[in-house]
């Protein structure tokens, strides 16, 4: 085992580059003309539009470096950025990664982190073209991803209109279950909840298909369904009403959290599923004609940025949970 302080920056970059070379399947439609090793990477002409997003993960805030599985952390730190690309309906093209490293971080840990990057690149495409390595008292990973589309518009938040229905992919709340179990030291590796928390699946193919089939409004659920739906409502100047009984949840979530699963699905966060709105007929058509796992959970109404919740009987629900400080009964 080798501490990063024991080898040169050049040797460290070389070892991490080797992990990518040995583990990432070459991308036959790669746009990269010059990768790691110059002042900047060079990329050929992209399609019409490009999108850019950046998200960082920080030790003791988003993970605990001496407990986390570094390969899972590599997956997750790139996946949360890919999820933003998916939410615009775009494909990932290239990424850069900056590592802030404590002197005692092991090179082998970083090689595992890069194996996690490799896993994600092999699954969803795109190239990791470079980055920066700096010393830091706090270990952090800062990722920037550029994606593109040949469509004239991306999905956005500001295009929801009254009459749209609201739909989500997959199921919600399981990542929050993973976090709760982790905090109690009860999270089993490779369990459903572990996968949901550490290895979220960015909805890249789903996002591309949704944009392609005419969906204009979308985002990914990172801060919890209601928090994120409120962002669409504010950006579009509309209200939303969701039926909490229609929110898709995994059977394991109901089984292990019978009293809390609805709250977890509504406000848990880090689901990285897509949240979209559109004409009901279009969304039903997409749901019927593709294998995208879409669930209609509510509708968009005239308003100015509020989210309301009801249950299947039509009764108004007031859920007040962590991070959900905007959502009080009114």
């Amino acid at each position: 085992m080798t501490k990063v302080s024991e080898i040169s920056e050049f040797d460290l970059i070389s070892r991490l580059e080797t992990i990518l070379e040995n583990n990432v399947t070459p991308n036959k439609d790669s746009k990269v003309e010059l990768s790691i090793g110059d002042d900047a990477a060079v990329i050929g002409n992209l399609d019409n539009l490009q999108v850019v997003t950046t998200d960082a993960m920080v030790d003791k805030v988003h993970f605990v470096s001496d407990q986390v599985d570094m390969r899972s952390l590599g997956w997750k730190s790139l996946a949360v950025n890919y999820s933003d690309i998916a939410s615009m309906g775009c494909k990932p093209i290239y990424s850069v990664v900056t590592l802030g490293l404590r002197a005692d971080i092991l090179v082998e840990q970083l090689e595992n982190l890069y194996l996690g990057f490799s896993d994600l690149l092999n699954t969803y495409g795109g190239d990791l073209v470079g980055g920066d390595i700096v010393k830091s008292d706090t270990f952090f990973i800062s990722v920037t991803v550029v994606g593109s589309t040949d469509k004239p518009e991306t999905m956005q938040r500001k295009t929801a209109v009254p009459g749209d229905v609201i739909a989500v992919t997959g199921h919600l709340g399981s990542s929050n279950a993973g976090l709760r179990l982790l905090l109690k030291n009860e999270l089993q590796k490779s369990s459903h909840f572990y996968e949901a928390h550490y290895m979220p699946k960015p909805r890249i193919p789903e996002g591309i298909s949704l944009l392609d089939m005419g969906i204009k409004t979308g985002m990914d659920i990172s801060d919890g369904l209601v928090n994120d739906l409120m962002k669409i409502c504010v950006a579009s100047t509309v209200n939303a009403t969701i039926n909490v009984d229609k929110i898709p949840v995994h059977d394991d979530l109901k089984k292990y959290f019978p009293n809390e699963y609805k709250e977890m699905a509504v406000s848990g966060g880090e689901d990285y599923e897509l949240l979209i709105t559109g004409h009901e007929s279009l969304i039903r058509y997409i749901s019927d004609s593709t294998d995208i796992d879409l669930h209609i959970i509510g509708e968009i109404e005239i308003g100015s940025g509020d989210v309301n919740a009801v249950d299947s009987t039509g009764a108004r629900i007031s859920l007040n949970t962590g991070g959900w400080d905007h959502f009080t009964e009114n």
Copy 2:
């Protein structure tokens, strides 16, 4: 004064966005179609090639947060990235910034940081289109910049050939002088050395002109002239010989550091000047026909990655200074 822990992330982003809105002159040829406020920013079709670079600055490594002028830090953290774009011969198009924030950092400090970003954007162009804000025990700033060119190639490191001469822009060593004075608490604000250390001028127009006029080999000097020249030599599989008496230095550097100025110019670092190679006739033509401040300091020879130094008498020089561990007399 307001600590970042006292306001919401939404309000913090809003205050920083306001700084940009009020201080950055709108870019008439901006490619940005959607900026801060969605999952990702959207950018229209760029020119043929694009380049991407990322560089982070970390508290207690690159600066000391309770001593540094935040406006200068904002300038510098974006400028060091712009310098990489300049070294490829490209123009900056857009940037994203991730801030890792301690709870006690003041909002007003961050507003000053964003004033520094604004200063640089107003001087060199490009748009700041978004970012991420995360909690961190260590304050850091991670920046990614994308640039582009309508030329078929960028400047690179691997294209130097024997017979090329080596040239640099501006003058070297003054940033290192600023650092030395800073460490002795003797750095006067707005002195020449302060400007050199905290407000480096990325050579954007010079880089664009050099590529346009046919220069193929270039990089920026961030780790010291010899360290960086060695990177060109390794990438191009050539040797280099520089004449230390031809390295341009500022009069103040000679005056205040009469015994050390040559060493500082050769290995000081953080100069952010351009280092190029090319046919002597082309470089002399550029120097004569433009106002680029170019100085020929040596030549490229057959070899495999070594840098040698001589003085004006032709005598071989062995300089052995900090960070310069590869350069021993042989």
